[in-house]
Symmetry: C2
Subunit: 481 residues, 2 copies
């Protein structure tokens, strides 16, 4: 009997090739253990609310009112909602005929795209056009739309940092393209060296690959590094010279934990460079409501802004967006509030600032606790988390641990992370899921567990790690493996 359409043998090979480690073997095992009753600390995904971060009050009030517009006519509404939330809900309800239950324009509600454009203008000091901003169901969907439109087949390459967030490798596989890796320098605080880039492009070309675009993640996931202006200029110039579109993943722009390198957008640096590059380079920049002090991952809201993209291409992207009708409307409203939060003088302003500052300052302290914790462990070295939500320590596995993994048919860092999970309940992602240099091993964890739990988690990690290292470095332990 020959295979049926949905038998594994006959599935689309590009689907099978795609890898997505963040929800891979480690995550599945963690879910199993949880079902068996074990307490799991899920640090595998940047999912702040799942680890206890409270949502910001004002935006939740506004969206609740938009979901239940009949409350606006209730004389008691003022007992539960402040006047500025009520006013803002009314504002958003006028922007989409039919409210939250109606498909919006496939690019997102025009009035909210205008709010996004104003935010970008204020942030960068350069004009932004709402017609070149599309709202999406999370940044992930935007990234996938753009990669889909670029990739024509195996011969098309996209430069992706290593280590990288696996959305990129997975989507490139799914669309049948070729990932062209460029290595970030761990010893230079995960900096980007233009010579590595040149080398990667030359190597890809020698294999017949047309390199068409480059991805940067700034601040970096999993590395946490923040790109300097000088570095961004080099990257933009490189893309211009090599005729590459630049995809700027800037979802962590609010997550900055040092003062030397504040976030600066690729768009601003590009505009600062002036013509011809500022008028010609194809740039698409991505943002989300999932990160920052919002952490509204479950709402699935994002946007991308297109710079110098030809109108006919914008039309094609619009058409593709139309096939799935519209991004979800509630998250569009979250996006509106993210780019246009309460202002000084508004009733909710002080509370909003207190909440959002509290979150960012605590993340900054947690980044420090985590880095210091890792660096106090045997055979572990870790760069400071300058931004984003992750720590990416290098784990120097003893040769005998590597051999043991080989015997078990596992990638060495997968084995380490599985043992960590079983021993401590800490669910991480092995470095191999993000890419790393041959023979070097990492794990990724988020800095999101509650601040008060951090010391305990790091102590439990240290105990596991140091015993693991002892066991595999200690000759007498050999038989115990």
């Amino acid at each position: 009997m020959f295979p049926k359409a949905l038998d594994y043998e006959s599935l689309n090979e590009n689907v099978k090739k795609a890898q997505y480690a963040v929800r891979g073997e480690l995550y599945l095992r963690a879910s199993e253990l949880q079902k068996e009753g074990k307490k799991i600390i899920f640090t595998n995904v940047g999912n702040p609310h799942a680890l206890g971060q409270k949502p910001l009050t004002f935006p939740r009030q506004v969206v609740a009112l938009c979901q239940a517009p009949f409350l606006l006519d209730d004389p008691n509404v003022g007992l539960l909602f402040p006047a500025d939330a009520i006013a803002r809900a009314k504002h958003y309800l006028t922007l989409n005929t039919g409210g939250l239950g109606a498909y919006s324009d496939s690019r997102g509600i025009p009035g909210i795209r205008k709010e996004v454009a104003e935010f970008i203008e204020k942030r960068d000091g350069y004009p932004s056009d709402p017609e070149l901003i599309f709202l999406t169901d999370g940044a992930s969907k935007g990234v996938m739309q753009i990669l889909n439109i670029i990739i024509r087949g195996e011969g098309d390459g996209v430069l992706v940092p290593v280590p990288q967030y696996p959305l990129y490798s997975a989507a490139i596989s799914l669309f049948g393209g070729s990932l062209v890796p460029y290595f970030l320098e761990e010893t230079a605080n995960w900096g980007l060296d233009i010579n590595n880039l040149r080398h990667s492009v030359a190597e890809a070309r020698s294999k017949g690959i047309t390199v068409r675009a480059m991805v940067i993640i700034n601040p970096g996931n999993p590395t946490g590094q923040c790109l300097s202006v000088a570095n961004l200029r080099e990257i933009l110039k490189f893309c211009y010279q090599e005729n590459l579109a630049l995809l700027g993943d800037e979802v962590y722009q609010q997550n900055i934990y040092q003062d030397e390198r504040p976030f600066i957008s690729a768009k601003k640096v590009l505009m600062d460079m002036g013509p011809p590059i500022s008028k010609e380079l194809h740039l698409v920049s991505f943002h989300t409501v999932s990160k920052g002090y919002w952490g509204e991952c479950g709402q699935r809201g994002g946007y991308f802004e297109m710079t110098n993209i030809p109108p006919k291409t914008v039309d094609e992207i619009y058409k593709v967006a139309s096939i799935s009708l519209s991004p979800n409307v509630p998250a569009q409203i979250f996006m509106g509030m993210m780019v246009n939060p309460p202002k000084p003088g508004d009733i909710s302003y002080d509370h909003f600032v207190r909440e959002s500052k509290g979150i960012i300052e605590s993340l900054r302290r947690r980044a420090r606790i985590m880095t210091d914790g890792f660096n106090s462990c045997r055979n572990v070295v870790c760069n400071f988390t300058e931004g984003a939500m992750y720590s990416f320590p290098q784990i120097r596995l003893p040769p005998r641990a590597i051999e043991a993994a080989k015997r078990a048919g596992k990638v060495p860092d997968v084995l380490y992370c599985l043992k960590l999970l079983e021993a401590t309940g800490i669910s991480t992602v092995p470095g191999s899921g993000f890419g790393q240099k041959e023979g070097v091993f990492h794990l990724r964890t988020t800095i999101l567990p509650a601040e008060e739990d951090m010391p305990g988690i790091m102590a439990s990690f240290k105990k596991f790690n140091d015993e693991f290292m002892e066991q595999y470095e200690d000759y007498r332990g050999y038989s115990r493996m």
Copy 2:
């Protein structure tokens, strides 16, 4: 200078080939006219709330509370929300750690998939497994995920009804597959004739295409027809014999406007047929919160259920779903309530029933008004809308109207619909966007305008149509074209 990555010339050809008429030329022109201040009646998309349908109160109360969980601790909450909505909100908040702001499992929240499985079990009288149900951002996303995993390239064909909802043609183009059309019989109330199917498969095979799957839309969009049990059995048998997976688009299962053919799911008919087919045929069934009496299009909630799909394939679909992390959580909660609405005895039950019955009964009357209205027009014939949300009248264009369209470089029904739009503000979709037999023309409109507006809209349509026909049939009118 050679083209850049995002220049139109260098985009993915599959993207360029995809067509999506529902938001095509007519929609764009309607949006322009609206900007210029003209009153537009948007009947191009099945978007009930945009045309004034009110959301059901109970689910909106529950989701509002889930968005603002701090209200649950407010002593005044009972002034604005009934106790059963409060209890239900608490229930859903326990199902996803971190609430609406946290990514859920990529397949959707397990507790809600369980509610869906129970709904299906009750509906069909056969077991349903929550592990084989995935929640999605609208049915559209589910359909795209499944087509993506099936289609390996141009040589893979998918049987799609003509006329069809253009999600299917667009997605098949996007994934680089081949659409294999089968014609529905307008003169037989848009019924499906198995001989047409056989003919289509044979023709595709003679061109070297491997036909891998078949799509049915039941109730039909744009045709409104409801498949009989006998017809469904024939289809299932055909798919089994021909080794095809069946994709059952059942998003309109609650939208039924006649009593002869109530909705019956492909899954139930399959199970009724017994082994071997009931244990072997690959079936995926789709549903949504966008339709029925819910009409919650903007929330983007859907599910698909897989029957007889091998576990390794389910794993692959899970992996692909993981790449975009999770479907939006608020819409998952809408889905939970759709499959598990208030029960007799619940505080909100009577009100919920009144609201939902009111909507369906009004739609039934509107279906009748519209069909009768079209059939009273010169050169227009229209089958009754048995189900779904659309009317799909055939417009018998006079030869001279067809010639005039050719001179204007337009497809004839596009010209007709554009003129209708300019004259009346009624925004429809030309039949060519859904597929139709050579030389036969239609338009699609929804039955969604408010019931009290219906007579006026149909009168304005009749006036336009009859004048149009007069002009193009009347010899003396020739020079006026």
